[in-house]
């Protein structure tokens, strides 16, 4: 190639790069516009909601007065939900291993557990654990009873998540681990579970967010969480709408908070496997 040809090619290259950059810039602008519009729609709906609530003739002074008291329930709600999701994960792991087991006893126990728990309402399970077990001499106080009920219930649903995560690991890897002489426990701990976690964690975060709201059901046992506080204050002052809106807002805010972390976690876990997007390549 002659020197002039070389320079020509270079100039052409720069031209191509410029066109590319223009496209990228346009795409970025379009994306920005989209986000702006979405934000606008949210703001409009939110404003409409506020106007709607105004029509309810809400007592805003009353709401402000009891806001701190109801807010204190956020801690209890989050605390109960975290302990419940941890117990649910443990149960789901054993449930999934049982579900994949070739041993008829383990398989039977796991499938029966999933079937019964998924086939009965959570509120029934809460009452059975709180009211029923004392008749057998097992007395559990309100908070642990709520945690056990939520854990057992979500554990059954999450068993399927864990099972799917474990089954997604390629047959070849398991065979390779076997040929290395690994035991079942070693295989699970060193090969399967670390990889399965990537698939298990995102939907588990989703379950946790659902649980945050289902934890309101433990109010019946006298746990002073968000919903309990809102209901009690609302009832005795005949202003249930006011306090329920406050509780609803806090559930929403807490959910947004945890959703943010979930999406961060998700993108971290996806590192290395995700498709590259945007600039480059």
């Amino acid at each position: 190639m002659t020197p002039t040809g070389d320079a020509q090619a270079k100039a052409q290259d720069i031209g191509v790069t410029e066109i590319k950059l223009k496209h990228i810039e346009a795409a970025r602008k379009a994306k920005q516009r989209f986000i702006l519009w979405v934000a606008l729609v949210w703001v409009v709906i939110f404003a409409a909601l506020i106007i709607l609530f105004y029509q309810f003739n809400l007592d805003f002074k009353f709401m402000l007065k009891y806001l701190p008291f109801i807010m204190k329930g956020v801690g209890t709600t989050v605390y109960v939900s975290i302990l419940s999701i941890v117990s649910a994960c443990i149960l789901a792991l054993f449930g999934a291993l049982g579900r994949l087991s070739k041993n008829p006893i383990f398989y039977g126990v796991a499938t029966f557990y999933i079937s019964v728990i998924r086939g009965t309402p959570l509120i029934v399970q809460i009452f059975v654990i709180y009211l029923g077990l004392p008749q057998m001499g097992i007395v559990i106080s309100a908070v642990p009873a709520g945690i056990i009920a939520l854990g057992v219930n979500y554990g059954a649903y999450m068993t399927e998540i864990f099972r799917a995560g474990i089954q997604a690991i390629g047959r070849g890897q398991i065979e390779a681990a076997h040929s290395l002489g690994m035991t079942y426990a070693q295989l699970m701990k060193r090969v399967v579970l670390p990889q399965a976690m990537r698939l298990i964690i995102p939907p588990t975060g989703n379950e946790f967010i659902a649980m945050l709201k289902d934890s309101a059901l433990v109010n019946f046992l006298g746990v002073w969480e968000l919903f309990f506080r809102a209901v009690k204050i609302g009832r005795q002052n005949f202003k249930s709408m006011e306090t329920l809106i406050i509780a609803g807002l806090f559930y929403w805010l807490v959910t947004i908070f945890f959703q943010y972390f979930q999406s961060r976690l998700e993108s971290r876990l996806a590192k290395g496997t995700r498709k590259a997007t945007g600039m480059g390549h």
Binding site: I140, P144, F220, G222, Q236
Partner: protein
Amino acid sequence: MNRKRFLMALMLSAGFFLLWTVSAAFAGVLEDIKSKGEIVISTDANYAPQSFLNDKGELDGFDIDVSKEVAKRMGVKVKFVTPDWDLIVAGKWGARWDLSIGSMTITSARAEVVDFSTPYYYTPAQFGVHKKNTTIKKLDDFAGKTVGLGSGTTYETYLDPNQELGIGGGEKIIYQVKNVKNIRIYTTDMEAVQDLALGDGLRIDGVLTSGFVIQEAGKKGIPIKVVGDPVYYEPLAAASDKARPGSADLVKKVSEIFQAMHADGTLTKFSMKWFGFEVTKKAK
């Protein structure tokens, strides 16, 4: 061996969890209270001025003052728990709380699962309608109407033609309202009152609840008024879980304390403080 250690830790923590949760009652309930130096009392924090959350979010009210006084006279501290009313009247508390001071009406059905003390006050069962209502002037006008009430209350039993009311403490039905068309059952009396407040006959035509609830609602600006005289009086007492060893001894002790509080005017003092009138004397 990592796996063994993990399993051990798991079993140990499960064991601790059980220890934490299982509180077995070995001795009688009175001995338990004395040895702990604390009595755990359940209260239904849904009704002002009996039991409610005050401006600071603390439990307050007539029942709370009575509970504190009972504990004081027993020489122990008091701790409150607030389970749902249906759980309190279901019995089988499993020693999670020792005593209920929650304006519980003495009834024969409840006496099968709990032991009752002597009454500490009385409340009139009364019908209420929306302030704007002009068609329901006397109790018999409720025939063919829809009445709202709280779940698990004596009002529910009163309006059910298939059930004996069976109130204890020597109280009798003063007037039986018949032919109520529909009974709508709410979580508590308060939801019934709130639903009535939405409009006359919009969802319900009237409520059957404690006269005090109607009064308190009126004070808080709810458009509601009383119809007719009380249909019966409810004798309200402390209750103890029958399944718990020594339950009868506990209510005997509480009854003695109530009698002393009746005699020395403590209950009247609380009554004046919270209701502004006398509720602790038996209705004539």
